[in-house]
Subunit: 208 residues, 2 copies
Amino acid sequence: MDIKQQIKDDILNNKLARGVPLRQVELSQRYGVSRIPIRDALLSLKAEGWLSPHGKAGVMVPALHWKEAEDLSLMRAELECLLLDMAFDRISEKELNEAKFISLQLDKEGLSLIERGELNWHFHQALYKVADRPTLQRVVEGLNQQAVRYLGFQYGPLGYRAESQHQHEELLSLIQKKNKYAAIKFLRQHIEDAGVLLTKYLKGMTDF
Amino acid sequence: MDIKQQIKDDILNNKLARGVPLRQVELSQRYGVSRIPIRDALLSLKAEGWLSPHGKAGVMVPALHWKEAEDLSLMRAELECLLLDMAFDRISEKELNEAKFISLQLDKEGLSLIERGELNWHFHQALYKVADRPTLQRVVEGLNQQAVRYLGFQYGPLGYRAESQHQHEELLSLIQKKNKYAAIKFLRQHIEDAGVLLTKYLKGMTDF
DNA sequence: AGAAATATTTTTGTATACATTTTTATTTTT
DNA sequence: AAAAATAAAAATGTATACAAAAATATTTCT
């Protein structure tokens, strides 16, 4: 696994303190490489929103914030509905089966946060890809990546797994029935519901 | 000006061929620095969507494509409306004056594409910033940055300057009248109109 | 001749060393 | 004692050198 992914993992698993600047030498020792690949990783992670600037030259793991969680789910709701709309008429049995298969894997226990996040994205991507809109899909993928940082709360304190599973099935069912309007509306609700739940929870917390 | 910005400029001014891989040594000679800062620049430009992968390890300037132009304007329409909605009730005379001042500068002749792109974004940002939604704003800013790559067409072949100016004034007027619904609807139209025009134009072109 | 395999060249990736900048600590001044 | 200025340190930024990988050219085989 490359350095970038390792740093992502460590951010997700709270192995890297938030708010304090990340030191390149420290990281290079931690991951057993020189500073150059560390710099590379930090640069792209910053560009992708995984890290934020600290002072004039440093970067840090940004604190989790309800506002960010809310923004991410609002944006996802808008843009994923757009994508589903564009994809809808092209979704065939093939894509539905693919999504169903992924949904089944998501139901398993013992998945890491990252695995869960990736599977969840693959589920949606299976439906969106036939829209054939690379730019839109790339942006939405980025937002989903970002959202993974908050996944720990959704699958941890908030018992979300079962409901999420159910909603995935419901979505597929609506698509199969060619009920475009209802499917898009449901997707929006699916994303926004999770966002509202998460946002409320984070607002209530004091220490993070 | 830093390397990253210089490369952006050269992309905008078609100084770097599209579709062919960018060679790090070539760029380092061109800009008179070693490969390290070049690599840094390429990495973040790739993460920001200014460059796309080429082969297994290289990057290239991606071809312009009507689909990307359309996606960018669709996304901007959705997300900027969201931002304006959140900002609306907090927009005071101060922000309106700020926007008006920027709008005046935009009317001048002899601005470079980048200057024009930045001013246009500053205009919108003057209104959005009171929404106080850093994440949403960051993403929208990225989309606007992307859109700059297509600005040459809007201000070149398509005579867009005058109309854009007029639309900016109209938007400010609607906000001043506290007509939230109309203002948001108008903003959406403003963004989508430009997008449709641009997309149609690009679809008609063969060689780019 | 065309495809597969191999060798060559080119290019990217990484480490180390040094320069520059930023941050922190110390000293000086009011 | 607080603020400003200065000095020390620690950190980032960049260059050069080398290693690994990728792309290209060449050779070999069918």
